[in-house]
C-alpha cells in the first residue's frame, strides 16, 4: 500500500528532516508514527501528501511512484488519502454538513450520492444531530470528528493523521481513537503521527519510531518505546 525506499528529505534551509528512510505499510494496517518533536514525523506525512518533495528516494502508493507524479496530478493522489490534522482545518463559513459535502462536491459527485453519503458518515462519527452547526459552535472533539468524517467520506484507502488528538483532553482523545480504530477495522489503512504515549501503549498496534530523521524502531505490536513496554 505505502512504501518508502531510501527516502531522504533536506529542506531548503539545510535541515535534514529525514535520512534514508525505508518503510513498508500493508493494506489495512494501523501504524503509529512516534518520535520526539522535530524528529521528522510531519515531514514524512507531508511527503505522502506531496506537500513536500523528497530530496532522494521513491515513495510508492498503491504501487505507483508518486515522486514521479506531475504537479497537475497531485489532486488525484490526495483524493486517495484522507487527512486529519491537529488543528482540524475546517471551513468556518460552512456547516458540519457542508464541510463534509464539500469534499464530495469537488470531485463532482452526484448530489443524490452526496445526500446519501454525508448523513451516513455523520452518523458514523455520531454528529447527526449537529449537522447544521458551524465549526465555531462545536467542541474540539466534535470538530475533529467532523474532519475525520470529511477525510473518509470519499472512502479513501489510506487515512493520514498528524497528531489528531493533540488538542484534545484524554477522554475526547480516546473517543477519536475508537473512531479511528473503527475506520481501520473497515479496511482503511491508517498512519498516525502522535505524542500520546498512553494511546500508543494501549492500542498495541505497529509503532514506527523516528529520531533525528532516522527510522530507529519498527515494532509489530508495540508501545511508545521499548523500555517501558518490556518492563
Amino acid at each position: 500500500m505505502i512504501k518508502l525506499v531510501n527516502v531522504s528529505k533536506v529542506y531548503d534551509n539545510g535541515v535534514k528532516a529525514l535520512k534514508n528512510v525505508n518503510l513498508e505499510i500493508k493494506k489495512g494496517e494501523f501504524v503509529f508514527l512516534v518520535g520526539s518533536s522535530g524528529a521528522g514525523k510531519s515531514t514524512l506525512l507531508k511527503l505522502l501528501l506531496k506537500e513536500e518533495e523528497p530530496t532522494e528516494g521513491s515513495i510508492y502508493l498503491n504501487g505507483m511512484d508518486i515522486t514521479r507524479v506531475r504537479n497537475r496530478r497531485i489532486p488525484n493522489i490526495r483524493r486517495n488519502i484522507g487527512v486529519v490534522f491537529q488543528d482540524f482545518r475546517l471551513l468556518h463559513n460552512k456547516t458540519v454538513y457542508e464541510n463534509v459535502a464539500f469534499a464530495m462536491e469537488i470531485l463532482g459527485t452526484h448530489p443524490r450520492e452526496i445526500r446519501r453519503r454525508v448523513p451516513m458518515v455523520l452518523s458514523m462519527v455520531d454528529l447527526s444531530r449537529k449537522a447544521s452547526y458551524f465549526p465555531d459552535q462545536l467542541s474540539g472533539g466534535e470538530n475533529q470528528r467532523v474532519s475525520i468524517a470529511r477525510a473518509i467520506v470519499n472512502n479513501p484507502p489510506v487515512l493520514i493523521a498528524d497528531e489528531p488528538t493533540g488538542n484534545l483532553d484524554p477522554d475526547t482523545a480516546w473517543e477519536i481513537m475508537k473512531l479511528l480504530n473503527d475506520i481501520n477495522s473497515r479496511g482503511t489503512t491508517i498512519l498516525m503521527a502522535t505524542h500520546a504515549k498512553d494511546i500508543v501503549d494501549h492500542m498495541q498496534k505497529r509503532v514506527i519510531t523516528i529520531e533525528d530523521g532516522i527510522l530507529v524502531r519498527d515494532i509489530e505490536k508495540g508501545g511508545y518505546d521499548r523500555e517501558i513496554t518490556t518492563v
Binding site: L49, E51, R72, P75, N76, R78, R79, V83, R89, L90, L91, F102, A103, E105, I106, L107, G108, T109, H110, P111, R150, N154
Partner: protein, 301 residues
C-alpha cells in the same frame, strides 16, 4: 462528462457567490474597468471619425486639374489626353474651357458674382483638364508623367492635404493604441490586486481545498468567474455611458459645426455593435486575466 458538468456548475455557482460576497471591493474593479473602457470608447470614436474624414476627403479630392497654356497646340493636347487615358486608376478626363471655368466661379461666388463681370472679354482663367481618379493614391504616378509634357502650365492636386491628414490620422491611431494598452495594463493591475485581497482572505480555505484534493482549476475557476463578472459589469456600464453620452454629444453638435465635422463624426448607432463586442471582450479579458495573475503564487501548496 456529467461529472465535469457538475464541477463546472459548482465553479460557476461559487463565482457568483464570490462576486456577491466581495461586491464592496468589486466596485473598485468595476469602476476601473469602466473608466478604461470609456476612455477606449472616446479614442475609438476619435479614430473612427478620423478614418471617416480621411475616406471622405480622399473621395472629395480624387481629382487632378491640369492648367494649360493658352498657346497649347492640338498635338500637345492629344498627347496629354492619350497619356492620361492610358493610365491606371483614371475614371475620366474632361476638358474645361476658360468660359466653363468662369461660369463655375460665378456660380460659386453667387451674389457677389457681379464682381467678375467684364472678365468675359479677356478671361484670365486658363483652359484645363479635370481628371477623375478612382482614388488619390494613383495621382503621384500620373502627375510625374504629366510634368514631362509640354503645354502644361500647372498641375493641381491635393496630395499634400491628404498626406498630412493621413499622417495625423496615424498619430491618433498609434497614440490611441498606446494609451489604451497602458490603461489595460493598469486596470489588470488594479483588478488583480482587488482579487488578491479576497484570495489572501481565503488563503486558509484554498489550502484546505487543496488538501481535500481540489484541482487548481476548481480552485481558480470561481475567482476567474468573479473577475469575469466584474469585467462584464464594467463593460455594460461603459457601453451604456459611451453610447448615450456620445449620442447626446452627436445630437447637440450635429448641424452646428462645420460640414466637415458632421460628415466625419460616426453615427452613434453604427458604433453600438462594435463597442458592445469590443468592450465586452476587453472587459471580460481584463477581469479574467487580472484574477489569474492574482492567483498565481497561491496555488503552490
Amino acid at each position: 462528462m456529467t461529472v465535469r458538468l457538475r464541477l463546472f456548475k459548482n465553479v460557476i455557482k461559487q463565482g457568483f457567490q464570490g462576486m456577491w460576497r466581495n461586491r464592496g471591493m468589486g466596485i473598485a474593479s468595476i469602476s476601473s474597468i469602466s473608466a478604461v473602457l470609456m476612455i477606449l470608447g472616446v479614442v475609438l470614436i476619435l479614430i473612427l471619425s478620423i478614418n471617416a474624414l480621411v475616406v471622405d476627403t480622399q473621395s472629395k479630392f480624387d481629382e487632378i486639374e491640369i492648367f494649360l497654356y493658352d498657346d497649347i497646340t492640338d498635338d500637345e493636347m492629344v498627347a496629354i489626353e492619350d497619356l492620361v487615358r492610358g493610365k491606371e486608376g483614371v475614371l475620366s478626363i474632361l476638358f474645361k474651357s476658360k468660359d466653363q471655368a468662369l461660369d463655375i466661379y460665378k456660380e460659386q461666388w453667387g451674389d457677389e458674382a457681379y464682381l467678375l463681370e467684364g472678365l468675359e472679354e479677356d478671361n484670365p482663367l486658363p483652359n484645363s483638364y479635370v481628371i477623375q481618379l478612382k482614388d488619390i493614391s494613383y495621382a503621384d504616378d500620373i502627375v510625374a508623367e504629366l510634368k514631362k509634357m509640354t503645354g502644361i502650365e500647372k498641375v493641381n492636386y491635393h496630395k499634400e492635404i491628404i498626406d498630412k491628414l493621413m499622417l495625423f490620422a496615424n498619430y491618433i491611431r498609434v497614440g490611441g493604441m498606446v494609451i489604451i494598452a497602458a490603461l489595460i495594463g493598469v486596470s489588470i493591475f488594479i483588478i488583480s490586486n482587488t482579487i488578491k485581497l479576497t484570495v489572501t482572505a481565503r488563503r486558509r480555505e484554498i489550502s484546505i481545498m487543496k488538501y481535500v484534493g481540489a484541482t487548481n482549476g476548481y480552485i481558480k475557476g470561481p475567482f476567474v468567474i468573479e473577475g469575469l463578472l466584474f469585467g462584464l459589469i464594467g463593460a455594460l456600464i461603459s457601453i451604456g455611458i459611451v453610447y448615450f453620452g456620445y449620442g447626446y454629444f452627436f445630437d447637440s453638435v450635429n448641424g452646428k459645426v462645420y460640414d466637415i465635422f458632421t460628415i466625419a463624426l460616426v453615427q452613434p448607432n453604427t458604433i453600438l455593435t462594435d463597442i458592445s463586442i469590443i468592450f465586452t471582450a476587453i472587459g471580460a479579458g481584463i477581469g479574467a486575466i487580472g484574477s489569474l495573475v492574482s492567483m498565481k503564487r497561491f496555488l503552490n501548496v
